[in-house]
Each structure stands twice: as structure tokens, then as C-alpha cells.
């Protein structure tokens, strides 16, 4: 596979919590590059630093040291205030959660169009785009339904539509198939691969689901905060 632009560039990133005897090194000098069109999996036992790495890439927590660039733009520099990071997340990063985390008071369509609303899209265009995505993910008929009435698979597809709404080039997924049966899990991964290829996006997924390992371009193992390709 021909590699596209580098969308995620993590260089020498370390992250520790606490100091002295209570210090925990969650990440130790991690280097990682993810290219456009790539779909990679972060693997490792509990406490190995997967979620911390996902949080650092997703601009949720800053690294203790090292450098992170998203789509060629350095982040966590002094100029990056909390608001800037949130805007960066809105423009460049889409999140897919283990539990779909749809807002329960919005319909499926509103959950998707909310992201576009926040990004400043005109309401009508936002709704149109939300409908397109839901149709594409074959849940268009559930657009006016609230999340409580969606099945697990439908809710996860709505969550994927929300993650893709603003056409982010970086998609971070935390156990996106954990709540799905194996058939649905395969379908979701196929879908993510297709989207990555079509939108020239990269997808970083934290997963323990061995049945979908063959759907990734790279499996990256984390152990005690250190990283190794497999």
C-alpha cells in the first residue's frame, strides 16, 4: 500500500502522572507515525498506556515531554490553549467510543449535525450532510429516533457518522466493536477501512478484539508505556 501524508506524528512522547514514589510512567519515549489511509490498532494489556496515547493524539491530555503533530500542525506548544485544542479536535479529529456516547436528548440526525453546528455550518446544510452520512451507514431511516430506541449496531453506526461528520482526517476509536457481535464488528471495521481510503483519513483504534486484527494495516503493541510494531 502506498503511504499518504503523515497525519499523526508522535516523537519521543513521554507522559507520567504524579511525582516521587507515586510517579507512574504511562508513556515512555513513544515514536509513532500514522499515514493517510492507514488503519492501525493499538494493542496491549490493561495499564500499558493505550488510552493515554489515544488521549495525547486526541489532544485531551498533553505529553510530559516530546512533540506531537497532527496533519502537519504542531500541538501542545505554548500557544495552544484549551480552546484551541478543542477547535483542533472539532476540525481534525473524530472520536468513536466503546459505548457510543450519543447525546440521549438528541435524535440520531441531531447527534450528527451537532458537530457541524459547532463547526459553524448552516443548519440546513448540516442536516443534509447528517442525512447523507446516516444513509451511507444504512441508518438513514433511524434519523428521527433518539439513541435509547436504537439497537447497539445502529447506535454505533450513528456514532461513526458523528465522528465523520466534519470530514476529519484523524479518527480515533476506543474499542469501537466491543459492544457488537462478531458479524457487526467485521462490518464496522470494513466500513472504517473504506472511509479511511475514501477520505484519505487515518484511523487509530484501541482494541482487544482478536477477530478483527486482520482488518488493520498495522498492529502496534504497547507494554509498560513502550511501543513496538508487530
Amino acid at each position: 500500500m502506498a503511504l499518504g501524508d503523515i497525519l499523526i506524528d508522535v516523537q519521543g512522547v513521554a507522559k507520567h502522572y504524579g511525582e516521587g514514589e507515586t510517579r507512574v510512567d504511562a508513556l515512555r519515549h513513544v515514536d509513532l507515525q500514522v499515514h493517510a489511509g492507514e488503519v492501525i490498532a493499538l494493542l496491549g494489556p490493561s495499564g500499558s498506556g493505550k488510552t493515554t496515547l489515544l488521549n495525547v493524539i486526541g489532544c485531551i491530555v498533553g505529553p510530559s515531554s516530546g512533540r506531537v503533530e497532527l496533519d502537519g500542525e504542531p500541538v501542545f506548544d505554548a500557544k495552544w490553549l484549551r480552546g484551541n485544542l478543542r477547535k483542533l479536535r472539532l476540525d481534525k479529529v473524530g472520536f468513536i467510543f466503546q459505548a457510543h456516547n450519543l447525546l440521549p436528548f438528541l435524535t440520531a440526525e441531531e447527534n450528527v449535525s451537532l458537530v457541524l453546528d459547532l463547526a459553524g455550518w448552516p443548519r440546513a446544510k448540516g442536516r443534509e450532510r447528517a442525512r447523507e452520512l446516516l444513509d451511507y451507514l444504512e441508518v438513514g431511516h433511524r434519523a428521527p429516533v433518539k439513541p435509547a430506541l436504537l439497537s447497539g449496531g445502529e447506535a454505533q453506526r450513528v456514532a461513526i457518522a458523528r465522528a465523520l461528520a466534519n470530514s476529519p482526517r484523524i479518527i480515533l476509536a476506543d474499542e469501537p466493536t466491543a459492544a457488537l457481535d462478531s458479524k457487526r464488528a467485521q462490518l464496522v471495521m470494513d466500513l472504517l477501512r473504506k472511509l479511511a481510503a475514501e477520505q484519505e483519513a487515518c484511523i487509530v483504534t484501541v482494541t482487544h478484539d482478536e477477530k478483527i486484527f486482520d482488518r488493520f494495516d498495522r498492529l502496534i503493541h504497547l507494554r509498560d508505556g513502550r511501543l513496538s510494531d508487530a
Partner: protein, 377 residues
């Protein structure tokens, strides 16, 4: 997209129930404000009704409301002749209990001279006193209607007219009768007591004293000079209208007023805590959703807007429900509930500030929440 309204609509029943609960609390707050106002208004009503400028009472007393006062009825003639006095009238006050339609009525009897100061200010039904004997003008709260008759003392009185908002500081509704009837009522004994007095060889109690003489002064007359002149008569004291009102508020209703005022303060504090608790709890229940909003890139103003708007809608709804309920039931209270638009506006202002402060606590908690909370199960 207005997230606050969407969230409210999602849990509408619960939100309405919360608003209703808050509304009931606001009803109690408004009722207390109304009762407080009513107490002051009732206390002053009886003083203000005669529209007097000067009150002439017994020397050494602060009558006729704060203390008992008895002065000769002919004092009126002496006062009426004073320079600067436009008109004067003698007046008596007494509280009686009477039975009517199977109920015991507690009435505040005001005796006045027809055609002179001291009578009812405005007749809302029927007419004023026309004959010198056995007619009554009653406050609506007595439950009497025009045409009713009621026995007071040894005589039956016909109700010929009705007035509103005439009562004493204790809330007893007033009835107006002629001075001579009132003096008879004051001095006539029960038949059995009268027989005992006759057996002892003494006459029944006879008195020609009244509680006070009220005077209205001519335009431009010096009220202070007039009261000073009256005070020179050793057996009389005089108070201006302002002094009489101040005296009534400071002595007769002061303790009740402070009691209700203190209770109102406590009630407002409790309401503030309840509102703060409701809004804080509403926010805490949404922390995961707020974390999700942060994670997908919602700016702080969206999150602050969600919390503050809900807090203000809650406060406004509670205030609206409270105001509506109190307006519906205020006339059923045993004592008068007087609500001025200003009171409702002040309460709205207090609720607005409380909601803002309370949502500030929620906003603080929401802004502190880590977006990473949204990750994981």
C-alpha cells in the same frame, strides 16, 4: 441548535415536575411576602380610612390603637372650633363577637358621626348609613350581605352597605355604625348583668366618652401647631396622622412584622439552597454528556449556555407557577394577602441572581470535567 431546550424536552415530565415543586416553594415565598404586606396594610387601613390629619386622644395615652383612650364626646365641639380645623368627628372602636348564620363572627365595630370624618371611605355595595339607629355598613370579609340582620348587644342591626379592606391590625373585619349606636353597644349590659346592677341599687353603666376625636385641617393650616395647642389641654393628647401610623407600626404590629420578615428571610434562603441544589444535581447528572461535548469540540460557551439557560428556564418557570398559584388562592387566605407588582419583580430578580449563582457552581463542575471521561465504558 439549542441544547438546553432539547434536553428539557427530552426529560419534560421530570423538568415540569421540578418546576412545579419550585413553583410551590415560590408560592409560599410570595404568600409570606403578601401576608407581610397585608399585615402592614391592614394595620394602617383603620388609621388611614378616616383620612384625618390630627388624632385627639386621652392624655398620657397613645390611643386609640396602641392603648385604650376615653375622652368626653363633647371634645369634638372644642376641637372643631379650633383655628385651622376644617371638620372634626368623634369616633369609637371596640371588638365584639356575634353569632350569624350559625357562625361566631369577630367584628371590629367603628362608631362615627354620620356626615363627619370617621366613616367608611368607599361603599362597594348598598349605601351608607342613612338613619341614626340600627344600621350597619360591613366589610365583605364579615360574610354579611346587604339586607342581612345581625344581633349586636341587645339590638338587631340591618346591613345596608358593604366596604372592602376595612379591618383592625388583628385582621378582624370592621363594621361601621353611628356613634350613638356604638356608644350604646359599648355601655349596655346583658339583661342579667343589668338586673344585678339594679338589685345593687346602681344604674347601668352610662358613659359619654369616645375613643378619639379626629380632625381634618384646612389647606395650609399648621398641623404641628394644632397638635401642640391640643396638648396644652391637660386632659388631652394629640398625634398627627404620621405619628399615629408610625406608632401603630412600631408598637402594635412590630413584633408580628419582624416575625414574618424573619421567616420570609429563612424561606428565601431555603429557596436559594433548593434552587442551587436542583441546578447542581441537574448538571452533575450530565457530566458524561458534557465530557462528550468537550471531546467532540464544543466550546465552553456551548456548555455554559446549556447549564445557564436551563437554570434560568427553571427559575422563570418556578416563579411563573408560583405567581399564578398565589394569585389564584390569595383571596382564600384568612388574612389579607397583598401582593404588589414590585414584590413579584423583586422576587424575580432574586431568583435570577440565585439561578445565576447556582448555575455558576454547575458551570464550575462542568468546566472541570475531563473530556477523557467520555472515553471508555
Amino acid at each position: 441548535m439549542n441544547l438546553a431546550l432539547k434536553d428539557i424536552r427530552h426529560g419534560l415530565f421530570r423538568f415540569v415536575l421540578t418546576c412545579f415543586g419550585l413553583g410551590l416553594l415560590m408560592t409560599v415565598v410570595l404568600a409570606m411576602i403578601g401576608i407581610y404586606n397585608g399585615l402592614v396594610s391592614d394595620a394602617l387601613a383603620v388609621v388611614k380610612a378616616p383620612a384625618a390629619d390630627v388624632w385627639v386622644v386621652e392624655a398620657g395615652t397613645q390611643g386609640p390603637f396602641a392603648e385604650a383612650s376615653a375622652i368626653p364626646v363633647n371634645t369634638r365641639d372644642a376641637v372643631a372650633r379650633m383655628p385651622g380645623v376644617a371638620e372634626a368627628g368623634a369616633i369609637t372602636y371596640q371588638t365584639v363577637e356575634a353569632n350569624h348564620a350559625g357562625k361566631t363572627l369577630r367584628l371590629y365595630v367603628i362608631g362615627y358621626e354620620t356626615g363627619r370624618p370617621g366613616g367608611p371611605s368607599e361603599i362597594v355595595a348598598g349605601r351608607g348609613l342613612g338613619t341614626s339607629h340600627f344600621e350597619l355598613v360591613a366589610d365583605r370579609k364579615t360574610g354579611l350581605a346587604v339586607g342581612d340582620t345581625i344581633r349586636l348587644g341587645r339590638d338587631r342591626f340591618h346591613v345596608v352597605g358593604l366596604v372592602e379592606d376595612a379591618m383592625n391590625s388583628g385582621g378582624d373585619p370592621a363594621v361601621f355604625m353611628t356613634l350613638s349606636d356604638a356608644m350604646t353597644l359599648q355601655t349596655t349590659l346583658d339583661p342579667a348583668a343589668s338586673r344585678v346592677q339594679a338589685a345593687r341599687g346602681t344604674d347601668a353603666v352610662k358613659s359619654a366618652s369616645v375613643a378619639a376625636v379626629i380632625a381634618r385641617v384646612e389647606p395650609g393650616a399648621d398641623v404641628d401647631l394644632l397638635t401642640a395647642t391640643v396638648r396644652q389641654w391637660k386632659h388631652l393628647a394629640a398625634l398627627t396622622q404620621a405619628e399615629q401610623e408610625q406608632l401603630l407600626l412600631a408598637s402594635v404590629v412590630d413584633r408580628a412584622r419582624r416575625q414574618i420578615g424573619l421567616f420570609l428571610g429563612i424561606l428565601l434562603s431555603v429557596s436559594a439552597v433548593v434552587i442551587a441544589l436542583i441546578i447542581y444535581t441537574m448538571t452533575m447528572e450530565k457530566l458524561k454528556q458534557i465530557a462528550t461535548l468537550k471531546l467532540i469540540g464544543a466550546p465552553d460557551r456551548t456548555i455554559i449556555g446549556l447549564i445557564v439557560q436551563q437554570a434560568l428556564i427553571l427559575g422563570a418557570s418556578g416563579w411563573g407557577i408560583g405567581l399564578t398559584l398565589i394569585l389564584l388562592v390569595k383571596d382564600d387566605f384568612p388574612r389579607r394577602v397583598v401582593l404588589e407588582p414590585f414584590n413579584a419583580l423583586v422576587l424575580a430578580g432574586i431568583i435570577f441572581v440565585v439561578c445565576l449563582v447556582a448555575s455558576g457552581l454547575g458551570v464550575h463542575a462542568a468546566l472541570k470535567v475531563d473530556p477523557a471521561t467520555a472515553l471508555g465504558s
